[in-house]
Structure formats: structure tokens, C-alpha cells
Symmetry: C2
Subunit: 305 residues, 2 copies
Amino acid sequence: MSEATVDCYQSLQDRLVGDGVLVAMGVPGMYGKGRSFQATFDGIYQYVTAAGAPAGPELFRFPPLMPREHFLRTDYLRSFPDLIGSIHSFTGGNAEHAALLRTVEQGGDWAAALSPTDVMLLPAACYPLYPMATGRLPEGGRLFDVLGTCFRHEPSADPARMQVFHQREYVHLGTPDSAMDFRDGWLARSQELLTDLGLDVRAEVANDPFFGRAGRMLAVNQRESELKYEVVATVANAEKPTAIVSCNCHQDHLTGPFEIQTADGATAHSACIGFGMERITLALFSAHGTDTHTWPAAVRGRLWP
Amino acid sequence: MSEATVDCYQSLQDRLVGDGVLVAMGVPGMYGKGRSFQATFDGIYQYVTAAGAPAGPELFRFPPLMPREHFLRTDYLRSFPDLIGSIHSFTGGNAEHAALLRTVEQGGDWAAALSPTDVMLLPAACYPLYPMATGRLPEGGRLFDVLGTCFRHEPSADPARMQVFHQREYVHLGTPDSAMDFRDGWLARSQELLTDLGLDVRAEVANDPFFGRAGRMLAVNQRESELKYEVVATVANAEKPTAIVSCNCHQDHLTGPFEIQTADGATAHSACIGFGMERITLALFSAHGTDTHTWPAAVRGRLWP
């Protein structure tokens, strides 16, 4: 990472923390949100709700954790092992507890004595949907509205690369054609929505950050088949815009392992539009300044009608 | 746990899942929330906001994780080791990754190969406040509004004992007297607020579930000094009401380790009122039924004005 890029990150973070928008928590990529950040986040939430499909999606809100067993049925561990969060806890008795506390006092690796639990941190907002959709879909498929608290273990100086963040997603399960139509429709619609918030956005073909040697080929394949698009805007650095929305076709990548079929029994496809809630919030602060009272009236009217 | 109690839990869970209020996720104590649950949760949130101190607390929203270093400055590991969630991730290269995937395929303990990260799951909503309040308080102390996503590793059949849950808290930092006044004031006020939602509540002296042999004495001390009160209501079982609000004086238990002083330099005290958001929601479903449209008009008017 270039020195100029790191300077951009630091300068944005200093401005946001100095003006009480964010609070640094002492670990890279983890922040408390002040009142103006949260009010903007909530404004975007209702704006996305108002823009939602008129048919009315099925709404679910899941915890930031998911069962380890379901996690292993995805290929997340194969593709992104460095980003995972596995939850470990203490399962011993009085004697083991005393030993644990002694290890802490001696500055030792106390966490190594913990045991894996049945749960993992949630890496993507839509993951809890697939286990509950196993079986045949109705004609026309299903449409979901989820807000997920996602974790990715990638401590960074970039305020837009938080270790914990929220994705508001609309997720469609259906046929290959309906999934692609859904993705393309939202790719266009999301750019209009963001432009109406005064953001200068554009769509780009993208790829996920697949791990290691084998991952390079996966990334090339994903780009060549144009399965993932991102809508980017300036956050810290105008030269290197940040993805604030992600529009993806998963093909049968998740519907396959969870045995989800279309109404006529074929393996279903899935697609999603994910609004990166913190990143859109940061893009707005970057575009309009840290005092929300001075933002353009049209933008304020859309966020806080 | 008696068979009758387990039956109560199962019967409540069946009713909530059957009517689409909750979705079971395949792990005890972890649920997706349907539209009516989330709408009630959101209604309680705005009701608590409207009831908040007129002076206007400082509002912060923190992620469900906190720095491991700050976690160790509290005595949570000493008091509740069995409830913790430590985050572990993968830090190896291509060869270690291949070995990890082989362990998974062979059904081995793949998670044992992961490394502890810098972060822990958040056990209590107010914990991230203390590191940011180090130093002298202004005259009159400080008042905070937080909403925390808390984790406690206690898989349970009781729908009210979720592994992940939200605490909406008002937290006061000040003198021993102002902390006790704050606690007592909210203990009375919270009972009025809950009664106005049609809940049959009462306050009880309580204790935290301290771990092990040493913990029994801590629990007795806490009860004798009446530092913790809970407001209880019926959720699954009218014979065994559930704590839905918690009112606590922490004395210098958290302000001490984080070196927070009053305006005149003495060690500050802290107190909090915690609204158990999921538990209040469940108490409302238990009292008024699973169809929110049939709830008493006065209750609907307060939740959704």
C-alpha cells in the first residue's frame, strides 16, 4: 500500500473521529458510531426500504453468528480462510479455570485453551437464508430482505474496511434467468438511488478476494463470467474509489449445497444486491462533509423524509 | 431443569416458529427474527428512546466485538469464563490451508489450528464505553445511550435465553450517590414503562451467574448489597418469570480498571439500566398473542405511534 494511500486513510479517520462521527476503539477497523453516523445509517436504511420491491419481500433479521455446520456447507473456508471468525469458549471446571487465569497473569496464550463452539461469525448477510429455503421454491421464486452484521478478519487503516459491518440485502432465489434479471435490474436501480443521494458512482466488474494460489484462478473466472459487479464511489481516495454496493449472481454456488430447487425441480440459482451500509454512510460524509446539517436539502429530504 | 419447564420452552418456541415470529437456526438459542418480531423490537426501541432522559444522552452504537485487551481489563474472564466468545481466525499460507481443508474432510478438529485474533465477542452493551471515558468526568457526570449486540455462550431451549441478544442501555458515570440515584430512578421508571405495554412486572433483587466455587460467594455478596435488580415478567412460564430489564450499580468495578474519575478526582462509579430487547419482545408476544394486529390499541399506540 502506498504512503499516499495510508495518508488518505489516516486523514479521513482523523476528520471523522475529530468531529465525533466515529470513535476509534483501539483495534484497526473497529469503530463506535456517533449520533450523526447512526442517524445517516438509519436514513439509508429507510431509503432502501422505501426503494424495495413493491411486492413486499419476506423480511428476516439474523444474529451476527451462524451454525458452524452450515458454514462448512458453503465453500467459505476454502475461498476465504483468512477472513473467518470462529467462536471459542471455556468449557472446563474450577481447576482449569484457575490454570486459565494463571496463564493470563503470566501473559501466556490463554485463548489456546478454549474450545470451538457450534457457531461462527457471519461472513455474508444472506448465508442464513439458504438452510431455511431447502426444498422446492414456489413459482416465481422467493425474495428476501435481510440486514446482516458481517465479520471479516482484515484489520485495516482504511475506515471503509471495517472488521464488522452491515449489509442490507435483497436476495432472490429462482431460475438462472430470473436471478440474472434480478441482479441486472438492481445494478441499474442502485446507481440511480445513490446518484440521488449526491454520490458520484459507477459500476465495475469485480471479484471476491479469493485466498492463495488457487484463488487467483477463481478470481479470474469470476471476472470473466461477470458474476460480480460493484458500484463504487469516493470515500478516502478519489483515485481509488470504494465499493459501496455489490450485485452478485451466485449461480448454484449456495443453492446447490442447501438443495434448493425451482418449482420444476431444477437446481435453483440465487442473486443478491448488497448495500454496504457503513460504506454508503462514509461516502456521504466524504461527499457532503462531517456536519449533516449542511448537507444538500434534497439529500437530507431523501434520508430523513 | 424440570420436564414441565422444558415443555414450557418447547411449547413457546413451537408457537413462535409456527406463526413465523421466529425462525429456528439449527443451534439452541439462535433464531432469525420475522417481520412481526422485528417490528415489535423496533417499536420498543423508539418507545425507550421517547422515554429517554430529556437532557439528551451521548449516543454511541458499537459493533458486537471488542478489543481483547480491553476485555482482559474487566474481570469477565474471572467471573464468567463459560459465557465468553473468543474470535479465532486462520493466519497460515497455502500449505497450512491445504492441511486445514484435509482436517475438515476427515472430520477432525480443524478449528484447533486457528489463531486468536485481537477481538472478543461483546458480553455487555456498556463495556466499550469505559475505555473511551478514561480521565476526569465533567461536573454532573456523563450519560450514554448504547444499543449492544451481546453474546453469551449458553445454548438453551428457552427462547428467552438467546446466545445473541440486544441490550438497549442508559449508562451513567458519576459519583457513588448519583450512580445510585440513577439506578433507583430507572428501576421505578422502567416498571411504569413496561406496565404501560400491558406487561405484569415486578422488581427483584438479583445476582449475576458467577462461575464456579468462588462465584457462589460473589453472588451472595451481590445480593446482600442489592447492587443488581431485575424487572421480571412472564415469557414461557408464569411460575418462573424472566428478567426483561436489569438495573445495576457497578460501584467502581469498571470505572476503576479504566481510570475514570469524578470532577474532583475521586474514582467514579457507574450504573446502568438495560432493556433486554428480545426478552421484552417475547414478553409482549406471550402476553398479547402472536398476531400483533390483535394487540390492545393502547399498546399498539405506544409501540407504533
